[in-house]
Symmetry: C2
Subunit: 655 residues, 2 copies
């Protein structure tokens, strides 16, 4: 029989269901598929191969599967390490991503990551990032198999000012790539706590409509879990289940802090898990209970996570660490033996990604995704043959990524004798370095930025980007009370009363935005003791869109607790001027036609002002949502009988 | 000025006290020493070098220091992994070491480890093993710097049937190598719980007499700590201090379970610590509190531990893991930043080994122990220059051992362009594989051994090797009571009373030894409830030496709890015959002239026997000690007025 290729005389480690190993085996490939596997002596005479590769002294194994990464983040490798999460994220990752993540950088950085992964024996990876179109394009050009998930979240991303755009991009991307022989497009809701219920439901719907995988970060840190609980009132996995997210071909990434009940739910829903031990250690998230996951029958793969939090994409090191860490943390030296670690890094990853019908093991009928590794080398000497576990031990505990010799995907050689055949390393590294040099200059220059200084203080939180607001002059409280009995106002929370002492730190360079220091003395219940809350808010310069009845502001907002004095902040930020605004505020939270608004009745004491202002306000992560709210605000002005002539669309600081 | 070598144009990472980095630096070497370091432009014109190496695109750094290993154990790499400690140790390591560890295997396996370490950038290692003479010889031939500690413990070792011989070997070894330019001989008491107070005191004395380092395992597992507490009644570090062990140039290895007070003691005593993260994880010992150690000012280095429990000697992976693990386990992403990890792997290791006046940093006057690493490579792309930490991040989080290009020790090139210059890899790997093949056959064959089967049941413990014993016929208890009032008997514990039901499982092949199943019904206090203790004891075949008054037996003894029925053990071990011995025993523990003995008054009921036997017995790890005890037993026979004519030097089973 004529075939395309035969790999002979290597130790063939199949990772099939019986974990068969052929000490001197052969793998036969035709049209990208494995057509035979067995002892070399049985097979060699039966096939006439276009290309024959002698693998003596080598192991032929299924290509490694990197079950979670963000490949374009190789651009940011080594940019900033060993930092607190907020400093790392808000101080480095997000500002650089905002500025430098685009089609071009994603394409080149993906090529760089692909080259790195091929050299370390990876044949398939699962990605979550932005401009996923470029990730798919680069992976396809290089010839790697990839699950590419466009990331969607409530925060603005480099490829979408609001999540509405992300969702559209995602749908377009999936429609375009569905059915490709190498690329599996997927949906990537970022995580429960960075999405809204609408995003989660919409992504679940999309995954089912197109029958594509859904990748999502789950329970990475204790903070995530707490944040999700606060938002949705239940454990993260259960909240995902509520939104239908577990009914797709779902992969949950990290799972460091999953409870026993959550793990059982994931088993029941056939959800895969990507274990990322290096990243979980490096970002100090903790250690995932992998041994327990495996005991419960979860489908667990191994991922490197993005190169900004690892900082490499070396699956040999990653599976070694998975095997070691499980033992050390459970205090059981038998936990995650080498055989299981290699399973996770190959067929386990394929199962977790719902791709085990295509790849992950050397079996007739599967695609020929193979890695050939030198094992007759100094640092893997000597060899023992006491049990079948000896070969797994050599591969997991002693083999290095530099020992990978050949890599094939779909039967096509991507690396032969360590030479990359589908990618020009010099060109790629030069391109990525060119972009990185610009990042370098950018970060050097922005040392004086306000955000950077705010980040340095710590405890930062990113707030909703879009704000709709309007103010109108009113006589007194009576207008509010009358308005509140309107039939379309379905819920009213009892109002709070507060004195707000704001100091705005203003800068000559308005593009930097401004910082507000607020002392908020709130009385939450009638007769209650005032509670003093002090916050810092950095409001970026933004765009505005004026409607008949209101104004829609689009601008970044970061807040943090102000635990130092105003004097300190003035000295620290060195504003060009400071403007004070004092007011007495009554605040109601209302729901009008199902949408929540804040209604404030304000009396300005500094600068002093006659009469009162009724302010109607709402914030959201979605531009589309904001536009709809602007229309509703128009109706609310009528509800509260506000004179249109008296409308003010400015902030008090701009008075 | 004429010099031997100049390395130019690389990024010189000095690891000196100011952590100076020269982005385009040079290092100048003459007579094995560093004579200048600084910017390349400053230095290049001033020196005329025999050999000039251009290091553009590379980092020139101090050679890595492997602060703890057992280099000859590369022979056992991958032999047995993912096992319970007792199975790993008693089932594989100890039997193979007993059989195969000799001068030849230690020499070749050391060469193998040295080759592996040079290729991963190591210039100095600290070893603890047997036949340390061979380790030193091999290291010296290859040209690596090494601290070589002959291991001494109470258990028999491959190079000593008892610890007396070990001590002699150790002293001879130190005297022979003291003052060598590369090899620092050292003493290596294995650990507090595997030594006796005499060994610990003697080793401390030796280290001070010769002014050499003392290396010792400390608090590796919770079991070690507990064992030490039971033996000495205090925490391991404090017990070492009691025996004077901390007053030398001491290195404590592991320190996984050190208390705060112990760490403070080590700081005060200027003791170094070798942190072995991979080994501690792999053997499920736990995670050492490294961040805390560093906070307290401990001198911490990093070690790979032996290749049988790692399974490589790759210091790049080891320092990466040290950095990662500290963060994940303390939940602090700033713990052990890259800079500190590299410090531990270089100058920190030198400090821990008390060698920082010679090596560990690139400073004028130190020996030229250098490693040159390629950093302009795919998987370390891109590079950023935001802070000095970027270069540490690249070296710790992204550099692989395969990126090491040149290695120099004492100014001599051991590797150039990845080619090993002082060792023939093919010869070594062939020699080690030849020995390993014999190990393979040995282990395949011994599947039927009793010890192996006992090991498989679990819970094994190795007991004292030497036993001195004698029995004499006596009338009754009165003779004991009279004897006990002798002035040289200084302490007598109240006797226990017991009925012992022994079943001896005997085998036609006597070389296998025999197994005793004992049901021991003990009454510890008069009128107390009998306590039933069931044990299995495997006694190996051994040699015996007859004295006038007693017999000295030298044979291996392993015990474990017998938690199954005698029926099970008979079916499991399939003995050729079973012999039962039942007796009633009164036991006193006495101290005679300061030495402890057991005195038993036995009445045999099966096989039934008239009268009683007085048995005097003692066990020890030292042959010399046993010989002295044999003499004392002679005296005790007089004390207890035992008729010399009635003496029996056999076990009851041999009646």
């Amino acid at each position: 029989m004529k075939v395309d290729m035969i790999l002979s005389n290597g130790i063939v480690v199949t990772m099939d269901k019986r974990l068969e190993v052929f000490p001197r085996g052969a793998v036969v490939i035709k049209d990208g598929q494995i057509v035979a596997v067995g002892p070399a002596t049985d097979l060699s005479g039966r096939y006439e191969a276009e290309q024959a590769i002698d693998c003596v002294g080598q192991v032929v194994m299924p290509g490694l599967i990197n079950a979670h990464t963000h490949v374009p983040m190789s651009l940011l490798r080594g940019l900033a390490d060993d930092l607190r999460l907020d400093v790392w994220l808000y101080g480095y990752m997000l500002p650089v991503e905002r500025e430098f993540v685009n089609e071009e950088s994603c394409y080149y950085a993906t090529l760089l990551s692909c080259a790195e992964m091929i050299r370390s024996g990876v044949t398939c990876f699962a990605d979550m990032y932005y401009f996923e179109e470029e990730v798919a394009r680069a992976a396809q050009e290089v010839g790697l198999r990839a699950v590419c998930a466009e990331t969607v979240m409530k925060l603005p991303t480099p490829d979408a000012a609001s999540y509405d755009e992300s969702l559209e991009y995602c749908q377009r991307f999936i429609a375009g790539w569905k059915g490709h022989e190498l690329i599996v497009p997927a949906v990537g809701p970022h995580s429960p706590y960075t999405c809204t219920p609408e995003i989660l439901r919409e992504m679940a719907r999309l995954a089912q409509e197109y029958d594509v995988p859904l990748l999502i970060h789950l329970s990475e840190t204790e903070g995530d879990v707490e944040g999700t609980r606060q938002l949705y009132g239940c454990a993260p996995a259960f909240c995902l289940d509520d939104f239908g997210v577990l009914d797709s071909k779902t992969l949950a990434v990290h799972g460091v802090h999953l409870t026993e009940e959550e793990m059982e739910l994931l088993v029941q829903k056939s959800v895969g898990v990507a274990h990322c031990p290096t990243s979980n250690l490096k970002l100090a998230s903790g250690v995932a209970p992998v041994a327990r996951m495996l005991d419960l029958g979860l489908k667990v793969g191994i991922g490197t996570d993005g190169p900004a939090s690892n900082n490499d994409q070396d699956m040999f090191e990653e599976m070694r660490l998975a095997a070691l860490l499980a033992k050390g943390t459970t205090r059981d030296p038998k936990a995650v033996p080498a055989r299981i670690a290699l399973t996770m890094a190959t067929i386990g990853g394929a199962r977790a990604l719902h791709l085990d019908h295509i790849t992950g093991s050397i079996e007739v009928g599967k695609q020929a995704d193979l890695t050939v590794v030198d094992v007759d080398v100094l640092h893997i000497t000597p060899k023992f043959d006491l049990s079948v576990d000896n070969i797994y031990s050599r591969l997991v505990y002693a083999t290095k990524s530099a020992d990978v010799r050949h890599v094939l995907v779909n039967g096509r050689l991507l690396m032969k004798d360590r030479e990359l055949l589908t990618v020009n390393v010099d060109t790629i590294t030069a391109e990525v370095q060119r972009i990185a040099d610009r990042v370098n200059v950018f970060l050097m220059r922005r040392e004086e930025s306000l955000l950077d200084k705010l980040v340095a203080i710590g405890g930062l939180e990113w707030k909703e980007t879009f704000e709709v607001q309007v103010k109108g002059s009113v006589e007194d409280e009576a207008v509010v009370m009358e308005g509140l009995i309107h039939p379309d106002i379905s819920a009213v929370w009892s109002p709070s009363v507060r004195d707000q002492y704001d100091a705005y730190l203003l800068f000559a360079d308005a593009s930097q935005g401004c910082i507000r220091h607020r002392e908020d003395n709130v009385v939450r219940e009638e007769g209650g003791v005032p509670e003093s809350i002090r916050t810092l808010t950095l409001t970026g310069s933004g765009s505005e869109q004026e409607f008949d009845n209101s104004v829609l502001l689009s601008r970044s907002r970061f807040t943090s607790k102000a635990d130092r004095t105003l004097r300190f902040y003035c000295e620290y930020f060195e504003p060009d001027s400071v403007k004070e605004v004092h007011k007495h505020r009554q605040r109601w939270h209302i729901r009008y036609k199902g949408v929540q608004f804040a209604v404030n009745l304000d009396r300005l004491t500094k600068p002093a002002h006659e009469g009162a202002f009724l302010e109607i306000k709402s914030r959201t992560w979605s531009k589309k949502d904001a536009e709809q709210k602007a229309l509703l605000i128009g109706e609310l002005l009528d509800v509260f009988s506000v004179d249109r002539e008296s409308l003010l669309k400015r902030d008090y600081v701009d008075f």
